[in-house]
């Protein structure tokens, strides 16, 4: 517990000092939400829809923070610690690798949640955002999307042999996910063919789930998304632990 407290406090301070995660994980999703809000206001999502464009996009905004922290922030930090041999130094202490990873997970999680809360407040105040779905279901889906995206990130961090590869892998996965999963460019405005291609990305499934639960759509349409996300979380977590290296 003592080790957890000290590591958590220290890593949190460092992440605030470094500003990478606060900028990309917290501020960036808010900026996207504000832009979409300014452009679409509280217009209905489509002709005759009983929810607004903002209502529909809220789930996507939530996913941007998850993506930035899970696919860039966390894996790059772990790869950097390995590259700098900071992990090697921890290896000759009694600390467990699981604790080190858990601390990073928690810090990124907190940043993402801060971003989500701010987006919720901003959208509610300026564009009358109301969550029509059950908040409990939304939070559960939010947690599931976090687990699956973070596990992909941790797997990248474990698999990448050096900093360069880690950078490349994260960029290769982060940007397509950001632009082609509906996180920034709304899924709904894409042509049908493109939507089918987008469905391959795990985050597309995550955003479907977040949108569905926040709008209160029937859950049976989301079962496939749930199954995909749970499988990704399991497989990637196992792989990231299996391939974890101190050095």
């Amino acid at each position: 517990m003592k080790a957890f407290n000290a590591l958590f406090k220290n890593e949190l301070k460092l992440s605030l000092r470094d500003m990478n995660i606060p900028v990309f994980g917290v501020a960036f999703p808010i900026i996207v939400a504000v832009i979409i809000g300014l452009v679409s206001g509280n217009k209905p999502a489509f002709e005759g829809a009983n929810y607004s464009f903002i209502d529909q996009s809220f789930g996507a905004f939530a996913a941007i923070g998850i993506c930035a922290t899970g696919l860039m922030g966390m894996p790059l930090l772990v790869a950097d610690y390995r590259h700098k041999k900071i992990l090697k130094r921890y290896m000759v202490t009694p600390v467990s690798p699981a604790l080190l990873l858990f601390v990073q997970f928690l810090i990124n999680l907190i940043m993402t949640v801060i971003s989500l809360v701010l987006i919720f407040v901003i959208c509610s105040v300026f564009w009358d955002y109301r969550m029509t779905g059950n908040p409990g279901w939304f939070l559960l889906s939010y947690l599931l999307v976090i687990l699956s995206i973070y596990s992909i990130g941790m797997m990248l961090a474990s698999v990448a042999p050096d900093m360069k590869t880690a950078n490349l892998l994260c960029t290769l996965i982060y940007f397509p996910m950001l632009f082609f999963s509906g996180a920034t460019i709304p899924y709904e405005i894409m042509p049908k063919g493109a939507q089918m291609a987008m469905d391959v990305l795990p985050l597309t499934q995550g955003i479907k789930l977040l949108k569905g639960t926040s709008l209160g759509l029937p859950i049976d349409n989301l079962i496939i998304s749930i199954i995909i996300l749970v499988s990704i979380s399991l497989v990637c977590t196992i792989l990231s632990i299996r391939f974890f290296r101190w050095e």
Partner: protein, 240 residues
């Protein structure tokens, strides 16, 4: 109780090159043991294999009666390590790295006292990257002592230190030694080795060429001082 460190037939190759070639050594309780050799002789790789940081190809290591890989957590509660090149988190402060290190152990030493002993008090608020090379080196030795170890590994402990700082580090180690600490060090400074080490081994191309006290090493060589004897054993003279 057996010897705190027993290494038998340790081997390690990188691709085809044998870096450690059948290393055998024993370190006695409470002694300061020095592993000497040129750059590339295999000192650091030997230490890393002993600590389990690197997988060895063959041989066995018993440190404080434990297997460093299988019993990592229990072992490093009692063993301190200073690696040759230590990097730290970006922008981390001296006090922060000390607090984090302290938090990892059940019964750590008081790091403020240690900072004082290593001439680093007053630098708590500085970031590690702002420290001079010598200050950073002292910090990394000092961090290895935070666990209140029974056994400490110091890889090039005083590289980059001025004479006064080196003597302070020696004095401090002597004091810990009289309290029962066992030390395994590497160094390129023969005055340091003479001042500190009870026994030394000289490593050449991954093999130990001789082990003994400073006096024994000198008397078994054609020379009358350690520097010359060391060069003779480690084969430097062939190049001249």
């Amino acid at each position: 109780m057996g010897k705190p460190l027993v290494v038998r037939g340790l081997q390690k190759s990188y691709s085809d090159v044998k870096v450690v070639d059948g290393l055998d050594l024993e370190v006695d309780q409470g002694e300061i043991f020095g592993l000497l050799g040129h750059n590339g002789a295999g000192k650091t790789t030997s230490i890393e294999c002993i600590l389990g940081v690197r997988k060895h190809d063959a041989g066995s290591v018993e440190l404080l009666g434990m297997n460093p890989v299988a019993e990592r957590k229990r072992l490093f509660e009692r063993v301190g390590v200073q690696f040759q090149q230590t990097n730290y988190h970006d922008k981390i402060r001296v006090s922060e790295i000390c607090e984090v290190t302290e938090s990892l152990y059940k019964a750590p030493a008081d790091w403020r006292e240690l900072l004082k002993s290593f001439g680093l008090s007053g630098m708590e608020k500085r970031t590690v990257s702002e420290l001079s090379g010598g200050e950073r080196q002292r910090l990394s030795v000092m961090l290895a002592l935070i666990p209140k170890p029974e056994f400490v590994f110091l890889d090039e402990l005083t590289t980059g230190l001025d004479s006064k700082a080196r003597r302070n580090v020696w004095k401090y180690l002597e004091r810990l030694k009289s309290g029962g600490l066992t030390v395994f060090l590497t160094s390129h400074y023969m005055d340091e080795v003479e001042a500190l080490c009870d026994r030394i081994s000289i490593l050449k191309k991954g093999q130990i060429v001789i082990t003994g006290t400073v006096e024994e090493l000198i008397s078994q060589s054609p020379h009358d001082n350690l520097e010359e004897a060391y060069l003779w054993y480690s084969g430097e003279e062939e190049n001249e």
